[in-house]
Symmetry: C2
Subunit: 211 residues, 2 copies
Amino acid sequence: MSSTPQKRAVRKSPAERAAEITEAAREIALEAGLSALTLRNVAARVGVASGLVAHYQPTMDTLVASTFATIVAAETQEVAGLLSQQPGPPERLSLLVETLLDNSRLDVTAIWVEAWTLGRRNEALAASVREQMDAWQKVFQGVVEDGNASGAFNVSDAAAVAWQILGMVDGLNAQALVRWNGVNDRGTHLAHAVEGMVGAARGSLAAKPSA
Amino acid sequence: MSSTPQKRAVRKSPAERAAEITEAAREIALEAGLSALTLRNVAARVGVASGLVAHYQPTMDTLVASTFATIVAAETQEVAGLLSQQPGPPERLSLLVETLLDNSRLDVTAIWVEAWTLGRRNEALAASVREQMDAWQKVFQGVVEDGNASGAFNVSDAAAVAWQILGMVDGLNAQALVRWNGVNDRGTHLAHAVEGMVGAARGSLAAKPSA
DNA sequence: TCTCTTGTTGATCACACGATCAACAATGCT
DNA sequence: AGCATTGTTGATCGTGTGATCAACAAGAGA
């Protein structure tokens, strides 16, 4: 932690300083949301004057957009990376749904939800949002198409079904953000829902007796 | 429209003025979001001084919260009212899903999404959000329980399934807010998903050959 | 007609925001 | 050692916010 007091910040290379600002922005966004990304806020965490942050960023809107992209892209890659270890499409889809609903990424969900609203007034952010949504949709679509090819699923429009699953996952996560208690077995219920959409047998995607 | 110029607003009864402010807030929220609910903004639409709005509202946070509740409760009642005309639970559930995904209420969806984020900093709003979510969930739960009783559905935890459907609908609507094109047949796909969750036969909830 | 109640005004305060930029000082180079 | 480069500062500007309140004036009751 770069604590409060410091007379003058040590001189650093532009690349290093830019990285510090990026990282500080990431932390602030995850803790307090994208709206907490102010010049003074970021500057304080890095331990520099507010002007320096402005000097490294053309506009705060772009910092918000790039911070969003950084956080969300990391999540996508992380989760997508888990898929390769699974044997077949049903297992991959099952893991995907199960993982995304495990409530361990609610801070990222909060950023998604905030971005949907902020994108209304921040065009750069809106573009990032669309881009990252497309990336997620492609992950789902790949799994659905593989399952179609292998005969495990029976879907006529894989792209549409992928969008649908993505929307459902987002909605359930957003819900968990507000109503975290009293709702049980999200994974199982969503698995049944997905079974209905991809034409898989009831129970074929529900959580296995783990380990 | 109460246009721009007016020397002094006509004197009105507190009840009438309060209603004007409430209505102006509703319109502004639907057009530009809850974050556009500022003292000066609301005052301008009503055609009074900013101080008057403050005089009628203890705090802007409470105006935001009550405006949210007003808008969302109206939507819930409107849609719930359509259900009574349907013969059985499958038809009711089908209509519910179909209606909520028809993209005619995206302005309300935008307010939901914004409220999820704003509730983080506005406790009154957060309470309203929970309250309205509960109301929606009860609507779904009622339909699911009726279907269970009639034998049309087979659900062990109607409350959980109701939450699940609600989350899915919200997520799909939020998605439509950002990505309104390229996604087809939301209603049909969600119907299949719901069939999977409630244990109904595939196709039994999908859109009928409408009138 | 006068008076008093009360709905209404708008200037004002303190604060926070993004952005700008002249002045500063640390560092590397000659 | 002296100099030039450049990373850094922080005061400052304009704007927007919620909130406050003394002053005003419209309207009802006497």
